[in-house]
Assembly symmetry: C2
Homo-oligomer: 410 residues x 2
């Protein structure tokens, strides 16, 4: 509804002040005024309130800016330890949990290997709960200081309702996983598709900090993507992420895990590359995940060593991925495309063909306008992404949260 009243005004200005401090810290009140356009009075009032809540603090060191005449300024900073954040990532063989502060700096992390996910949603929730509680203890804090929990889950997840619609881990039936975890921990809980988690990590701490509209493509076991627009992650009409991995580039292409043919994933995902490599060598396909991982390492090594058939295979992968990304660019006109994921361990073999195909298939008006960045993966992304998910929830612009307008209420 977003009815305007003093409360909204307060929320907006508080947000702006906090945001300015986050962004320019350490910073004095006068400078906040210059950035936000708010009156001196207002800023004094708001900062006094924030100082009282310990959300921000005076800066100890007082480095006096360069041309320093007049009354010395009182520098303000965020208090990054005002609250902590928990990120939990579920992948096929483990649960990884990290506790970080509000700057996504890790305090503690816990990894629990999982042999068998077939214990039902409640069983899984219990395992995740245990891991989270352990991590919190390890971090030397307790639940009361946790501002939120971010969950990363593979599959189709409706982040608005918090329901997993389809997931290799949580199953093919809808599971209200967010609510289950919130009930167990009593803390605000958010969930996202894992590709979206990476996107958030790029936005807050990676290559997306300076662009308002960018796309992340993750190549791994599957091919995923996330799309950041204005201040928000794009979720389609049904709350789920976008599916780059399953757009079709060649109707007569190889079969995909999804049962169809010619999907991007069927060319560029780990299993697809290995399938093709083994096919070239006259070997039968493998299906076990660890075998795929090992096989891929081997294939990459041999391609780097110069095996012509494999070099050509990676070239074709680059070509296909480039075509797919060209479609993406033509359709979404992003400011930047960030390529990441474990599947890019052979980035050097893929990149030239990829860039060439991208250029060849981009519309002339867009050609050269969209940057393509390879960003190699660190294991931290998950923790940072989950942290970012919570931060995004905490520092949400007040006028965005309540975007429901009269017309929609009907």
């Amino acid at each position: 509804m977003l009815a305007g009243d003093t409360e909204l005004v307060r929320a907006i200005n508080r947000y702006q002040v906090l945001h300015a401090i986050r962004r320019f810290e350490p910073v004095c009140r006068a400078e906040i005024g210059r950035h936000t356009g708010l009156g001196r009075t207002t800023i004094s009032a708001i900062t006094a309130s924030l100082l009282g809540e310990d959300v921000i603090r005076y800066d100890q060191g007082e480095p006096r800016g360069v041309s320093a005449r007049g009354r010395p300024r009182e520098l303000l900073r965020m208090n990054p330890n005002f609250a902590y954040v928990v990120g939990a990532k579920l992948s096929m063989h483990q649960i990884s949990v990290a506790v970080t502060n509000l700057r996504a700096e890790p305090l503690a992390s816990v990894v629990v290997p999982v042999r068998n996910w077939a214990v039902g949603p409640d069983g899984i929730a219990n395992m995740v709960e245990d891991a989270i509680r352990a991590a919190i203890v390890k971090a030397g804090t307790d639940l009361t200081r946790i501002a939120g929990v971010g969950l990363g889950v593979p599959g189709f997840v409706d982040s608005v309702t918090g329901v997993s619609q389809w997931s290799p881990i949580l199953g093919e039936q809808p599971v209200p996983f967010t609510e289950m975890m919130r009930a167990r921990l009593g803390v605000m809980t958010l969930i996202e598709n894992d590709a979206n988690l990476v996107t958030l990590a790029e936005r807050w701490f990676g290559c997306g900090q300076d662009v308002e509209n960018f796309v992340v493509v993750t190549v791994e076991g599957g091919v995923g993507m996330g799309h950041f627009i204005h201040g928000d992650l794009y979720h389609g009409h049904h709350g789920m992420g976008t599916e780059f991995g399953h757009i079709k580039i060649d109707r007569h292409g190889p079969p995909c895990r999804c049962g169809q043919n010619g999907c991007v994933e069927a060319f560029a995902a780990d299993y697809a590359i290995l399938r093709e490599a083994r096919n070239l060598a006259g070997l039968p396909p493998v299906h076990d995940e660890i075998a795929i991982e090992l096989g891929m390492r081997d294939v990459t090594r041999r391609a780097r060593a110069g095996d012509p058939a494999l070099v050509d295979l990676f070239r074709r992968v680059g070509e296909t991925l480039g075509l797919g990304i060209a479609n993406l660019v033509n359709l979404l006109d992003p400011g930047r495309v960030i390529l990441t994921g474990a599947g890019l361990r052979a980035a050097d073999l893929i990149e030239p063909a990829l860039r060439e195909a991208l250029a060849a298939n981009s519309l002339s008006v867009l050609k050269g306008r969209c940057e393509l960045v390879f960003h190699t993966w660190t294991d931290e992304v998950w923790a940072r992404g989950s942290a970012a998910l919570v931060l995004q929830g905490l520092y949400r612009e007040p006028w965005r949260g309540a975007t429901r307008v009269v017309s929609e209420v009907v």
Copy 2:
């Protein structure tokens, strides 16, 4: 910046009240309160102001709602003639201008045939200006009552800056067309790609009124699209529309006007269908636009009469379009896809294969979740779209307009 102060609060609530009246008219103050959640006092103040400005009016007829006890309510309505709106559409062979009221009801229209567009941007601007002035006179009003002008131009148009980057009419060099028209008329002027104009028309007056996230695909001389998200038309990072027509679905497909191969357009646009039909008949291709139009009518007629080769041709068009739309759906997860455009005169021949291909290539999670609607075209869309463009500008949510936040100001 969106600094919150009383002015913002006022703007928001004024917007909400106006919006509620637009949507539920005729409506009494108490009901506006129930819809917006605003206090009685506030609504009285705001409506008094709006009545004073003649933006809204008392409803003459007083039909007393069903259960009518108590003091009779004073019904309020928008005044659709408070201001007028001009829409101008540039197409390859004419300029069409319409003057409408705020409900997009036409007051007058003018169509000026154009033989030769090669008169340079200034020459074109002059022609458009003359047509607009003529239409305004014909409508019996004058420029002072015009709230805004909406321009529809084919090609790549940056609607934020108002610059035409590439257009078959305005040329391949950037032209600040919006500013040129604004300077000539002294009225707020907005511009959009023509596919986006159709999208706006669908949103305000067509099949998109009840969905927050939908895609429009226009099939005509080319294949275009528009994407409506939340309350806004999606413009990529460079301000231009999305380009569905030039995503590639078959790298070995037929050549496209854009110089590449296998674009959706190269299968489904008028010229592509006719090319294929004439090819089947052993005839050389034609290039003249009018010849294409006439040829297509003929081909459609013969296909309807049962010519098996042509029936099959349309089936293949449907198949290809269905595959393309499946990609779109997988990538954007819209709530609805609206298919429209003159190219769908043969919708009945295309539709079955299209739906089949769409279902076959959609991800299982999305299958059946996204409605596909065929919406046949009327010539009014352009006027309505241009009107909607201006209305969108006039009735913009106050908190959206100033979405620039501190972080971006830097």
